[in-house]
Subunit: 271 residues, 2 copies
């Protein structure tokens, strides 16, 4: 029987005592004299007992051309089976095409979850949701500066990102929808968590982007102090730019996991 | 000197007397006994004197795994240099990652233009716009049913898609922004054209999706009867599912080009 994404995530998180997700976003210009696959492999080997998930962003593989997707496939083979892998793809297209993307990410590459964009509405997301044992993270309130251009526009008396969160709740018939909410806006994160108390939230924006880790944990977790996936990419991958990058990445991952767990220790649901 | 996208598009359109764009979206299950590259090559050879552009949707290549992107690269080599190629990618990600996507599509694969999603705001689109000689088509009002879920929500007294069109106008410092507006909603198309009188519009949704071609031409073109790229995919690609598919595709492309040109003949700017 195939394990559902949320169960696989909780299982990995409990085993590794971690809500840290590492973004596998290799930039060839920043790698210490080895290729992308060797780099990813070393990062995974150094950190796979410290994470709840990995999250490759497909842009960094697409930037390597066709070869990049072969590297992505090989990278996925390096990740232990019990660790879920989220395709950060932010896909959003019409029905027929959305089906092709969902098939690509879930059946062909074999990801456990994917990020999708809400702009095209329900029928652009439905083909992903229909893979009931896979996770689907809808972009809600992103971590970047430009997020306010549209996501905070007032619609029907509330900001657009809240409308997206509510719709996501309505669409969640199979319980496999999550939301992407940046750590850089803790108040918005708190709002989204109150609208969707049980959903998994994928939270980028701590580390290099400057989001506050303790606030992300406090506002992002559910009532039990779970389901807040804290993603860090560059801060871990490039903790050292020298030959000791894997050891430095491990130390940084341990440190951030420790900080997350310290914040969780004071969480009302953690007892 | 590198030709700007809009100039390359106009040049191809005038040479071929065509505003028809063919979507190169091969579905292996629908191909008459040959592989995707052979199919694409035959379609391109049969139609390259009838189009203003080609538009591969990346989903259909991603669905073939790493091999699919190699096929995409080879497909691009089959397209004559003077015909612009639009990457239908609908990308939208934060700054650092958006840069990687823009590099992937424009520098690595060498597309002339790309479609992007507006949900993440200006800094997600800026890295694309900064390639000044490339075209950037922002999703505005899409052709699918679910488009109304968010795009028609009222914000600041107008629907979100109009806000996107206005923002696109503000962001268009280099004159390389266009908009994607579905033919299935001719009134919205007319609104967008009135907001952005000079932009290139990429108009999917005629053919299999049921949009009215004459209305798309009437409402989508600019004052000179130009800059409305009418995209058709399945209706041309699968005009025949037999061995004569290339001839059938050519006949269908000729027919649609003729219909577009007939509609243009009654356009006030065409004299």
């Amino acid at each position: 029987m195939v394990m559902k994404f949320a169960d696989k995530l909780l299982s990995a998180s409990r085993k590794n005592q971690s809500w840290l997700c590492i973004g596998l976003d290799p930039d060839p210009e920043l790698l210490p004299g080895l290729d992308v696959l060797q780099f990813n492999k070393a990062i995974i080997e150094a950190t796979s007992d410290l994470v709840c998930a990995y999250k490759p962003n497909l842009a960094f593989y697409e930037a390597l051309g066709a070869e990049g997707f072969a590297t992505l496939e090989k990278t996925l083979h390096c990740i232990p089976d019990h660790i879920p892998v989220i395709a950060d793809a932010k896909r959003g297209d019409i029905g027929n095409t959305a089906k092709a993307y969902a098939r690509a990410l879930f059946s062909v590459f074999g990801f456990d979850a994917a990020t999708v964009s809400p702009y095209l509405g329900f029928d652009s997301i439905e083909p992903f949701i229909n893979y009931r044992h896979k996770g689907v993270f809808i972009l809600c309130r992103t971590s970047n500066r430009g997020a306010t251009d549209f996501q905070n526009l007032c619609t029907d008396g509330r900001p657009l990102y809240e409308v997206v969160a509510r719709k996501a709740g309505e669409w969640n018939a199979y319980g496999n929808i999550g939301l992407v909410v940046g750590a850089t806006y803790p108040e918005e994160l708190e709002r989204v968590r109150s609208i969707c108390p049980d959903m998994c939230l994928l939270i980028p924006g701590v580390g290099s982007q400057g989001g506050d880790l303790a606030a992300a944990v406090a506002h992002g977790t559910d009532a039990r102090g779970e389901k807040a996936i804290i993603n860090v990419s560059r801060q871990v991958l490039y903790a050292s730019r020298e030959k000791d990058f894997a050891r430095a990445a491990r130390e940084m991952a341990e440190k951030i996991r420790g900080q997350i767990n310290s914040s969780l220790a004071s969480h009302p649901g953690s007892q």
